[in-house]
């Protein structure tokens, strides 16, 4: 008891000294309401609230003894505070987790209920859910499947007679043609998500070893080795040749999206999750996905990047685990998942989902027919090492020499190695 008091006051103390903690919406929302049991569904997808409200209404109709309340936090805040809320147990009977550092930290804190034996696990594509496993136990079930690689204007490419490049040489030729037509090849939102998204496809073939970041963290690899220095050199080339817009580090994702929607730029260096927003801004766009192949065609291993994310899980501290599992079971039904996929414009990891929108249908081939790799960034489990990796990209785009940027980042890696 005394120990817990110290723990609680320690948290408050840190908050006081920092004096800067953001407020949070939602709160204790897991309770018995009337005859029905109320569970809390904690996640970060505010943009999906309306669709999920519909799905929840249908779920409650089919399960009149369960009520579901959504507790939504912005993704930045979610990454920082979800663990604290799960610890207490009253929020997030069902919750979602990011893969990578957050999954690792929640797993090591013991907040995941083991879902291995649940029947609904078989509703998911087996090849896409391994990211929610640890030591053979299924702790979380990724729901969404996103492709973290540039979205490109297919209509523009067709008009200019451009083919999807299969090598780094072809990529540069394609970019030169776009520049000759006064089109910026890549809109890069360097002020926010650009570096952490684009690094994945830029490095996927420079370092085909999927263990490369695990090795970096345990000291077997270094950012000063060829795979990362070459990635930084490739970034430098994009900046030097004007393949990404001027002042890219000051451009946020809204501005970058506007560039692509207005057809000032041909590619958006983020991911498939922005296709719907781009079509909202300009419904005439014809979009597809394109990852830069930074090696010669014969050396290329991967064609793109995937991330199975929005991982559904049950809080081990919850007192309503059965109700929480019933809700996940419901979300994993193909007709429910299809509704969610089509209304949010997302590909899902659930089997037998029927994609209705043109954009989803046109890009579904990336799920089965293309060799994509799980997002490497999520395999960096130490947040400070991840920051060092991303900072080296910003450093190079700010004018630093790639090797010097790699050395500076490697120093931080060494300081933070566990």
């Amino acid at each position: 008891m005394k120990n817990k008091l110290w723990l609680a006051t320690g948290t408050i103390g840190l908050g006081f000294i920092l004096g800067a903690c953001a407020g949070e919406s939602g709160g204790d929302s897991s309770s018995e309401s009337g005859d029905a049991t109320q569970i809390s569904f904690m996640h970060w997808r505010g943009e999906d609230k309306a669709v999920l409200d519909d799905i929840i209404a249908n779920f409650e109709e089919a399960n009149p003894d369960i009520r579901v309340e959504q507790n939504i936090y912005p993704s930045d805040q979610y990454q920082a505070t979800a663990q604290r809320m799960l610890q207490e147990g009253s929020t997030g009977d069902v919750f979602t987790s990011f893969p990578g550092a957050q999954f690792e930290s929640i797993e090591s804190a013991g907040f995941f209920e083991d879902l291995s034996g649940e029947q609904f696990v078989s509703n998911f594509d087996e090849s896409l859910i391994s990211v929610g496993q640890k030591d053979g136990t299924q702790y979380a079930l990724p729901y969404q499947l996103v492709f973290n690689m540039p979205v490109y204007n297919k209509g523009m490419f067709d008009e200019l007679g451009l083919e999807v490049p299969k090598s780094w040489t072809e990529f540069q030729e394609m970019a030169d043609t776009l520049l000759e037509n006064d089109i910026t090849p890549i809109a890069f939102p360097g002020a926010d998500i650009g570096p952490n998204q684009f690094m994945n496809s830029m490095m996927m073939n420079n370092a085909p070893d999927e263990e490369v970041f695990a090795k970096l963290q345990n000291g077997e690899e270094s950012l000063t080795n060829e795979w990362w220095v070459k990635t930084l050199e490739d970034f430098k080339l994009l900046a030097d040749k004007g393949y990404i817009q001027d002042d890219a580090l000051g451009t946020n994702q809204d501005s970058a999206m506007a560039m692509v929607a207005n057809e000032e730029a041909a590619m958006l260096a983020t991911g498939s999750y922005h296709m719907n927003s781009l079509l909202d801004l300009n419904p005439d766009l014809e979009l597809d996905l394109l990852a830069p192949i930074t090696v010669e065609e014969s050396e290329a291993t991967y064609e793109g990047i995937n991330t199975a994310t929005f991982m559904l899980a049950v809080n081990s501290n919850s007192e309503k685990k059965d109700q929480a599992k019933a809700f996940i079971d419901y979300l994993s039904q193909p007709e429910v998942a299809s509704k969610y996929a089509n209304e949010t414009g997302q590909h899902l990891t659930v089997n037998d989902v029927e994609y209705e929108s043109e954009a989803l249908q046109n890009t579904s081939y990336w799920i089965d027919e293309r060799n994509t790799r799980f997002q490497p960034r999520f395999l960096i489990t130490n947040a400070q090492i991840e920051d060092a990796v991303l900072s080296s990209i910003e450093n190079v785009l700010g004018g630093e020499d790639p090797m010097a940027a790699a050395e500076a980042a490697q120093q931080i890696v060494e300081e933070n190695r566990e």
């Binding site: 006051t9 953001a22 580090l249």
Partner: protein
């Protein structure tokens, strides 16, 4: 007059709240600064002064944040104080126009910091932002910058936003201080042939020192704690060039789950603020006079 002992009961609620909500948590943070607590589990180990050693000798980002914080603080303290004082001298008289202008200058202070961050992020946008467009329109396009994307100037761009945000608040303190200076002293100075600058140096500034102490101390603390503005505008980037101690504590505690280490940085942070505030207080106190 004999004071009843029961009067001490009136101190009790405040004392209890202060102890519970500040003193005890602060002591616990100090306690955790000697541990490797991850913020989640109930188990932790004592690591002695390892966290402090790491902060000063093995964490280049933390050392960079101190530098960033000093740059930010010095820019804000100097320019915010000067701007607030200059504007206060302009609007000191209680005319209708001046009352309106004071309200206008104070207005940014009532905005939420996140709104301010969004407004200024838009102003600073290199391609669509108003600032670069205005500079181009008036023929000063050579001054157009990547305000938040250039690691060499991003911290100063944030400082300008901070000054815009809080100068109005300091102006009010200066106006109150200026209005408290007796008019007769200026009359005496005038009779003795003092110029406006001499009157300012020998009358205004010394008698304004208590207000200036408050302004400088408060601005220093504010600029060290400018977490929300930095977090919303740059997130500490590019390349950690705008990472300040407060945002770094947040990253270490809530992204890396190293609460023990974050607690030690918090303690160092608290000592730095206390030390700088004390030195400022001493320096400005020596300027004080009374007539």
């Amino acid at each position: 007059m004999r004071i009843s002992k029961s009067i001490y009961l009136f101190f009790l609620p405040g004392l209890v709240l202060y102890s519970l909500l500040f003193l005890y948590p602060t002591i616990s943070a100090l306690f955790y600064s000697f541990t490797d607590w991850d913020g989640l589990s109930t188990a932790f180990q004592f690591v002695g002064i390892d966290n402090y050693t790491r902060a000063f000798t093995g964490d280049s980002i933390f050392q960079k944040t101190i530098g960033n914080n000093l740059k930010f603080m010095l820019t804000v303290v100097v320019f915010q104080t000067l701007v607030a004082l200059a504007f206060a001298l302009i609007v000191i008289k209680n005319t209708k126009t001046n009352v309106f202008l004071r309200a206008l200058y104070f207005f940014p202070t009532i905005l939420s910091s996140v709104s301010v961050a969004f407004i200024w992020a838009f102003i600073y946008d290199p391609s669509m932002g108003i600032l670069n467009q205005v500079l181009q329109l008036i023929g000063l396009d050579f001054l157009a910058q990547n305000w938040l994307g250039n690691a060499n100037i991003a911290i100063f761009s944030l400082a300008i936003t901070q000054i815009w945000f809080h100068a109005g608040q300091m102006l009010i303190i200066f106006v109150a201080g200026l209005q408290a200076i007796p008019e007769e002293l200026y009359e005496v100075a005038k009779i003795e042939g003092a110029s406006k600058w001499q009157a300012f140096r020998s009358v205004t500034w010394p008698l304004l020192a208590p207000s200036a102490t408050i302004v400088v101390a408060y601005t220093t603390i504010q600029s060290f704690k400018a977490f929300d503005l930095v977090f919303a505008m740059t997130g500490g980037g590019p390349n950690n060039s705008t990472e300040i101690i407060a945002t770094y504590i947040y990253d270490v505690a809530f992204k890396s789950y190293q609460f023990g280490y974050a607690s030690s940085i918090s303690v160092i942070f608290m000592v730095i603020i206390a030390l700088i505030t004390y030195l400022q207080f001493k320096a400005l106190r020596s300027d004080r006079v009374s007539y």
